[in-house]
């Protein structure tokens, strides 16, 4: 079989990645997460009479708990396949990566399984966050004087 013909056949049968559609879905899902976050801040600050800076911590705890719970029930993976970056980039993605690593390795025991592997996926976020924050903080302190 000629190479060109084979190439055309392969092209015909590979599923088309519609990046516009994926981008729109990610935009809407991510935007909804932002709206939910702001809504939770408003609810907490009006119900508990606390400033919105404290309410944002409550909001983050709530979202992480929801993300962990939905991962346990198996909904989150389906939604990630659908909305992709719209759910990975928000803080729920951080909770999801930690939770799914813990679930995956729980068979290997508490210490060598859960303890050793829980940060397998989300560790890069923490490491790069700390390294970049330290470097940028040093630059700011040394060059701009705090």
């Amino acid at each position: 079989m000629e190479k060109n013909k084979y190439k055309r056949l392969v092209e015909k049968h590979t599923p088309k990645e519609n990046s516009l559609y994926h981008g729109l879905l990610a935009f809407i899902a991510g935007g909804m997460m932002g709206v939910i976050g702001q809504f939770l801040i408003d609810v907490y600050s009006s119900l508990l009479h606390i400033p919105s800076s404290d309410a944002s911590s409550y909001m983050i705890i709530t979202l992480i708990f929801i993300g962990c719970l939905l991962t346990c029930f198996g909904f989150f993976d389906k939604w990630v396949n659908f909305a992709k970056a719209g759910l990975i980039v928000p803080i729920t993605g951080f909770a999801h990566s930690m939770m799914s690593a813990a679930l995956e390795y729980r068979k290997e025991g508490m210490v060598t399984g859960i303890g050793a592997n829980m940060l397998k996926l989300s560790g890069s976020v923490i490491i790069f966050g700390i390294v970049s924050a330290y470097v940028f903080g040093l630059i700011r302190l040394i060059i701009f004087g705090g």
């Binding site: 939910i36 702001q38 719209g86 951080f94 813990a102 966050g129 940028f136």
Partner: protein
């Protein structure tokens, strides 16, 4: 109005992440790490604080806020203690996210089986 801003900002961050995922070979781990670095960079010159005032929860939900709160706490302590303060205050504001994620995933993983 802040809800519209929150929708636009959080949506845009996720859209950029999706574009990076679609057009490069980077994995979600790369994208989130990159966004944390960007968040830390933006807060070095207090740009991210202004975004939070504008977009509220929309700026706190994406992972960029993780980088922002890391460097924000570090710089706050650094004003009083100098370079040592960077290490003292690094987790001042981020501990909420890290501690609750670890606690919830540890205890939930004791009760749930992985779904496959």
């Amino acid at each position: 109005m802040i809800y519209v801003n929150a929708f636009i900002f959080a949506g845009l961050v996720c859209l950029i992440g999706q574009i990076i995922l679609d057009y490069t070979k980077l994995t979600p781990g790369h994208v989130t790490s990159l966004f944390v670095c960007i968040g830390a960079f933006l807060d070095t010159f207090e740009i991210y604080d202004k975004i939070i005032l504008w977009a509220g929860g929309g700026a706190l939900v994406p992972i960029t806020s993780f980088g922002h709160s890391l460097i924000h706490g570090a710089l706050e302590r650094a004003n009083n203690f100098g370079i040592m303060g960077l290490a003292m205050g690094m987790f001042d504001m981020t501990s909420v996210g890290i501690v609750s994620a670890i606690i919830f995933s540890f205890f939930l993983s004791l009760f749930f089986e992985p779904k496959d």
